[in-house]
């Protein structure tokens, strides 16, 4: 295993789904069920059985819009406000209308949702305004349940293939993808009538405080490959300056899970054990208050459970130590941390792109279509804001059905053999050098400069220095990087995605000359929100080989937001009682 083999094969399918984490399996399943005659291929860099953000399951739904508890109108309004108004509501509203059907479908797949004594869904309030959080008592089984459905529907699964570039037809439509086997370096050219990108967040962008490249908030496989693929295919990427930054357990880099512990009475506190934010729901405004407290004399910040009854704490531990991040208990045990006796130190994560928690993603409409015909995106990498796991499932389903319909109507778009040859040369270049710089050093240096120059508070002069450093690294990456086996080649290709994302993060952040979304885009030299000039999306894309940014108007709201409701998320800090 891992030796480099020189081989290329070509296959054709109707719908190609890239990424087998959360959105991808649902997209592939729905495409196949919509048109059982279609060839649907699910391509995955790891193994679909245990890949992506939910490799070990998930503790619950963070954004369930369930009749009787919340309405699509209410949810759409809350997400609009949480995003400082920069939100195309149609995809959010469509998600909100459709997600209940997906919950019922997941229920049929064998995933249980918590119910109260009357058999009703036990939905909890965690958001600032509405009630949308629903625990999943057997959430560790979610991948298995999905995998069973994929096998039953006969979706073609290709594990250990990493997509390196998309193929465009001469008219610009999407025509397929090129992938490389991560254990043999063999090439696969996949012609497709529609491609759905479900490659997750750009989670390996900033460097965690520990300095360990893999100690990221996101599953460390999520190196931003989807953002890079979309960019090079000419798709528009929206609001990348609205970074993902999350509150985490310090050093462990998993979420402290105030969502899980909050409904039991736990909360985020300062070193005096006092509440300082009204609401633990993650937003840029909340993160700004979190950051302010960290930097203040009352820092650092903690998750407080030591006031709760021992049995309640045990109940919380059973959830937190079993699902999603099961190594959390081990982390605490190493340090002798007992939730009953001591508050848990928290910190903020490294920066990344992710629409699952913020709003930085490939631009999509309410049918999950990107700006490139035939190319779709869903999940953490598609810019339906705050979409979380249920958004990945729901928008993946929408993408899968739409793509299947499109594929039924068209013939395979043309591909150019010279595109394939050029990509082979690019990909294999690091394997043809005898010595040089290994991918882990290219990656470390890129990510250290992301921390040094791009992390908020953002400063113009610093970001410009960052861009110069990235250009130097790019020169090294293109002329000196060496990969000695196919595993290192995968890391080399990831380093290339990470560097693309670093360049995109700098360009997008420099373009928007105002501050917005709290900490996510806090620009010290443009400290005010400027609605007159910047109440718009920013779209970054590749045009004639260059990175450009443009404004795109926010589509008129379908759910009106009253003037006095717009600032709700700006009022996060607990005010002193008179």
């Amino acid at each position: 295993m891992d030796e480099i083999h020189d081989a290329t094969s070509e296959v054709a399918c109707d719908v190609l789904v890239i990424g087998g984490g959360t959105a991808g399996p649902m997209a592939a399943l729905k495409a196949k069920l919509r048109n059982p005659a279609a060839r649907v291929v699910l391509l995955e860099k790891a193994n679909v059985k245990r890949s992506g953000a939910i490799a070990m399951g998930m503790d619950g739904l963070n954004n369930a819009v369930i009749p009787g508890y919340a309405t699509p109108e209410q949810y759409t309004k809350e997400i609009t406000i949480a995003n400082d108004g920069i939100c195309d509501q149609a995809p959010v509203y469509r998600y909100a209308e459709h997600c209940y059907a997906i919950i019922q479908e997941l229920d049929r797949f064998g995933i249980r949702f918590q119910r109260d004594g009357n058999g009703e869904y036990d939905v909890k309030k965690v958001h600032h305004l509405g009630t949308y959080v629903l625990p999943m008592p057997n959430g560790e089984t979610v991948k298995k349940a999905l995998y069973r459905q994929l096998r039953k529907a006969q979706v073609l699964i290709s594990n250990r293939f990493m997509a390196t570039r998309l193929l465009n037809a001469p008219d610009g439509r999407i025509a397929g993808a090129i992938a490389v086997n991560t254990r043999s370096a063999e090439f696969l050219v996949i012609r497709a009538k529609a491609v759905i990108l479900c490659l997750g967040a750009a989670g390996r962008l900033g460097l965690p405080q520990s300095g360990y490249l893999w100690g990221t908030y996101e599953n460390a496989t999520n190196s931003g490959d989807g953002y890079s693929l979309a960019y090079h295919a000419g798709a528009g990427l929206a609001n990348l300056e609205c970074y993902q930054i999350n509150p985490l357990i310090k050093d462990y880099n998993g979420p402290a899970c105030a969502y899980v512990a909050g409904p039991f009475g736990a909360y985020t506190a300062n070193s005096e054990g006092k509440r300082f934010i009204e609401c633990d729901y993650w937003s840029g405004q909340m993160m700004q208050e979190f950051y302010n407290e960290l930097q203040s004399g009352k820092g650092p910040v903690f998750l407080k459970l030591d006031h709760l009854h021992a049995e309640t704490v045990s109940e919380i531990e059973t959830i937190l130590h079993k699902v999603e991040r099961p190594s959390r208990g081990r982390f605490h045990a190493n340090r002798g941390t007992n939730y009953r006796e001591r508050m848990i130190e928290m910190h903020i994560s490294e920066v990344g792109f992710c629409s699952g928690h913020s709003a930085s993603g490939v631009f999509v409409d309410e049918c999950a279509r990107t700006t490139v015909p035939g190319l779709y995106a869903a999940g953490d990498m598609a810019n339906v804001p705050h979409s979380y796991m249920l958004g990945a499932f729901t928008n993946g389903a929408i993408a899968g059905e739409h793509a299947a319909d499109r594929a039924a109507e068209i013939d395979w778009p043309e591909i150019a053999p010279e595109d394939v040859a050029r990509e082979r040369d690019r990909v294999l270049a690091p394997t043809r050098r005898k010595d040089g710089i290994p991918p882990n050093q290219i990656e470390y240096k890129t990510r250290r400069f992301v921390n040094d120059y791009l992390q908020p508070p953002k400063v113009t002069a610093k970001m410009e220095i960052g861009q110069r450093r990235f250009a130097e690294i790019r020169e090294d990456l293109e002329t000196r990087m060496v990969a000695r086996d196919s595993h290192e080649l995968m890391r080399a290709l990831e380093a290339s995605s990470i560097l693309d994302c670093a360049d995109m993060a700098a360009a997008a952040s420099l373009y928007r000359t105002e501050s917005r979304w709290g900490l996510y885009h806090n620009r010290t030299d443009h400290p005010e929100k400027n609605d007159a000039d910047w109440f718009c999306h920013t779209i970054l894309r590749k045009a004639e080989g260059r990175m450009i940014s443009e404004k795109r108007p926010v589509t008129p709201y379908i759910v009106p937001v009253a003037e006095d409701e717009r600032g709700a998320y700006d009022r996060q800090r607990v005010r002193k009682q008179a």
Partner: protein, 77 residues
């Protein structure tokens, strides 16, 4: 410009007396999202070849004989 190795203590360890990779089992290698485990040509047992671990635990959870253990990487511990 030759390459040097930087030593690190690995987060994933395998109990050779329990590991049945020499009988054809590849479960831990198959499920690892970061693809860092391999079967040793020398011993026929699984081991961590690349120190690139997200301490996510499918290797330990899915191992049929309980041979695999995951620790938090030292830099985070």
């Amino acid at each position: 410009m030759p390459l040097a190795h930087a030593p690190s203590t690995v987060p994933v360890t395998v109990d050779d007396s329990k590991c049945i990779a020499d009988k054809g089992c590849t479960v831990c290698v198959d499920v690892c999202p970061l693809d860092v485990l391999r079967i040793s040509d020398l011993t026929g047992k699984a081991y961590m070849k690349y120190d690139e671990c997200w301490y996510c635990m499918p290797c330990e959870t899915d191992c049929p004989t309980g041979a695999v253990s995951v620790q938090i990487p030292y830099l985070l511990r």
